[in-house]
């Protein structure tokens, strides 16, 4: 039975059980970090009451206990259970098709500011994944950026990032 299940999930990138284990280990790591951090601060009773690490220490203790149980359930109790797919190859590709450009976009926001990055990001996304003609993509992406500019910098006077490395908007007179 389990072999058949494995065959039908051939396209699976990773199983739910594996992901559960990884996440639980991640929680354990967070718990450990918080615990070390709060012990450094002092997690006991100081001269004027509980020290700064007092509360976080117990939080970290609870994280580690509860994630240990989750880890135990995923790794040992569910070992014999039929493997369920967390994400199959096709969906994983789709998710990455959004996530990877988004990472480049955020890098762009930091380096060259949000307006120009948004134009590139939206336009490339539309042409690449939506198969739109270039002129439509440019119209939409420039429109969104201009609308953002008007709304934030002009009406509400909230400045958005113009780029820490290079500000391409200098060419049109925006500092």
């Amino acid at each position: 039975m389990s072999e058949q299940a494995n065959n039908s999930n051939e396209d699976s990138v990773i199983s739910v059980r594996m992901m559960d284990i990884i996440t639980a280990i991640g929680f354990l790591a967070v718990g450990l970090t918080v615990m070390i951090g709060s012990l450094k601060l002092g997690a006991s009773w100081g001269s004027d009451g509980p020290e700064a690490g007092y509360f976080p220490f117990y939080i970290s203790l609870i994280i580690m206990l509860s994630s240990t149980v989750t880890l135990y359930q995923a790794a040992i109790v569910n070992k014999k259970k039929k493997t369920e797919s967390f994400v199959d190859r096709e969906s994983f590709k789709q998710v990455m098709a959004v996530l990877l450009p988004a990472i480049v976009f955020v890098l762009g926001v930091q380096l060259i500011g949000i307006y120009v990055s948004s134009v590139f990001y939206i336009a490339i996304f539309m042409v690449w994944l939506g198969k739109y003609p270039l002129w439509k993509a440019i119209a939409v992406s420039v429109g969104v950026s201009v609308a953002l500019y008007l709304m934030f910098e002009y009406w509400f006077q909230v400045p958005l990032p113009h780029g820490s490395w290079f500000n391409p908007l200098e060419f049109v007179g925006v500092n």
């Binding site: 929680f27 967070v30 020290e51 939080i59 509860s66 998710v95 098709a97 955020v106």
Partner: protein, 499 residues
């Protein structure tokens, strides 16, 4: 009848032309947010929050709460017309709403959904009007131990009411608490858990977490499903509205039951989503037409919509009277109060009656405005969903990035948002609940403060949480809820053994 007088002075505050305009803007934005995938009540308000910093607090909260009402209404549109719940609380509405739309009764289904939403909200607002001042007055006597026990109750009820693994709920919640402790410690002035990183000195702002978890996470999930919209056309004629309204009073019992379920689930942080499912389930069991549920029964729309809206509204009661939000969206509104320099909690009713009653009065008006807007503009909102996902997805990610940046004017926060987005995607697929995590992040500091103060009173003994009837009662209830999954299992086994 002190409350009635206060309410009328509230109406005077809320009924300025500027505030009425903000209400309409808020409701319209809210419906759009509710219709769009990836934007919902919580992260929509989080993104727009920085734009309200310059407004007077009362006007700001009126607009933001109206966005919330709009989002609650908007969820129903996509459920009925496209079989895609725009918000988690409208999943149950798809069960009967979409079949009705396919039978050519889209107008009736939408009218029923909107009207029931309105009824649910109205019921909850009336309850808030009369109950919130009482709760606040009562809570004025609370000391730190009482407050901590109420926090404990809030968080334990997540464990008790969630259907998934209680350990995952606890892990997610404690992660929220842990993230909340990062940054400056307000009591000792020490930097905590920053590990020397100056970017972490600001701490983890829950607005960033909300935008990432609910916004980016949702986009990643929708992308995986490969959305294709096949919608029914909709136009609501006045004739249909009147005919539907004539039919609705028949379902008064279902409606009342759903209102009560909704209010209960809203005050205790069960939230709108479980409330809608519970109301649907109960209606199905009790109704004479129970076997027709799922095939396009109007009662199957009335029940979940009433409960969801009642719960969504009732979630503001503990936020206003105790400073403890009942839902992530209420938590974002609470964050807004703090930013505007208002201290949420029982004293708010005494110190800022204008603000509180203005908000309560605006709830009545905002929901009325919402009902009017959605009934008249459905085709417009439905057309938003026809915009292909390959345009909507990048635009929403850009909007989320803008929202995350404007909270502290920091690009580091935009990276954090992306990180929370991935976390949201993984959590959602592994059934880690996000609401308790967000609430823990919001309330972490306050819960910790009340815990430390209690410990100071008792010199480190936990007995202080059982030192009088009130605090002992709340603490015991909290512990009961915390161990409910275990207790439920034991009872279930006994029942099985008896049968």
């Amino acid at each position: 009848m002190e409350e009635i007088n206060a309410l009328f002075s509230g109406f005077a505050v809320a009924m300025t032309p500027f505030n009425l305009l903000l209400m309409l803007v808020g409701v319209t934005l809210g419906v759009i947010i509710g219709v769009l995938p990836g934007l919902g009540g919580a992260n929509g308000i989080a993104i727009l929050l920085p734009l309200t910093f310059t407004m007077p607090p009362t006007s700001a909260i009126i607009m933001l709460s109206c966005i919330y009402w709009g989002a609650l209404f908007g969820g129903a549109i996509t459920s009925v017309l496209f079989n895609i719940p725009g918000e988690p609380w409208s999943v149950a509405t798809t069960f009967d709403g979409y079949p009705m739309a396919r039978n050519g009764k889209a107008g009736e289904a939408l009218t029923a959904a909107f009207t029931s939403s309105f009824v649910g909200a109205f019921f909850a607002i009336v309850m808030i009007t009369f109950l919130a001042p009482l709760v606040a007055k009562f809570a004025l006597q609370f000391g730190p131990p009482e407050f901590f026990s109420v926090y404990l109750l809030t968080f334990c009820s997540f464990v008790g009411m969630n259907k998934g693994s209680p350990f995952k709920t606890i892990s997610a919640m404690m992660l929220g608490f842990a993230l909340a402790t990062v940054g400056m410690d307000t009591v000792t002035g020490q930097l905590r858990l920053t590990f020397g990183n100056p970017e972490l000195m600001r701490g983890f702002d829950f607005l960033i977490a909300v935008i990432g978890l609910f916004g980016i996470g949702e986009i990643l999930l929708s992308m995986e499903e490969g959305l294709a919209f096949h919608g029914a056309a909709a136009k609501i004629r006045r004739q249909v509205v009147l005919e539907t309204w004539a039919k609705l009073p028949k379902y008064w019992a279902t409606s009342l039951r759903s209102c009560l379920i909704g209010c209960w689930m809203g005050i205790t942080p069960g939230g709108a989503t479980p409330a809608s499912f519970m109301a649907y389930g109960v209606a199905k069991r009790v109704s004479k037409n129970g076997e027709n549920f799922g095939k396009g029964e109007m009662e199957g729309i009335v029940a979940p919509e009433t409960a969801a809206h009642a719960a969504g509204t009732a979630a503001l009661l503990p936020m206003l009277s105790l400073g403890i939000p009942g839902s992530p969206t209420a938590a974002v509104l609470l964050g807004g109060l703090l930013i505007w320099g208002l201290q949420p909690g029982p004293l708010l009713f005494v110190e800022k009656p204008d603000f509180v009653w203005g908000l309560i009065a605006s709830m009545y008006l905002g929901n009325l405005a919402g009902l009017f807007v959605v009934l008249t503009c459905v085709p417009l909102f439905a057309s938003i969903l026809r915009i292909p996902f390959s345009i909507i997805a990048p635009v929403i990610i850009v909007i989320c990035a803008v929202g995350a940046y404007t909270v502290h004017n920091a690009t580091f926060d935009v990276w954090l948002m992306l990180g929370f987005g991935v976390l949201g995607y993984v959590f959602k697929k592994l059934d880690y609940p996000m609401a308790p995590m967000v609430l823990a992040l919001v309330l972490g500091d306050r819960a910790e403060d009340s815990f430390r103060q209690s410990m100071l009173i008792s010199q480190g003994s936990l007995d202080v949480f059982f030192s009088n009837y009130l605090v002992a009662g709340i603490s015991s209830l909290a512990l009961l809820l915390l161990f409910w999954p275990l207790i439920g299992k034991v009872i279930g086994k006994k029942k099985a053994a008896a049968a």
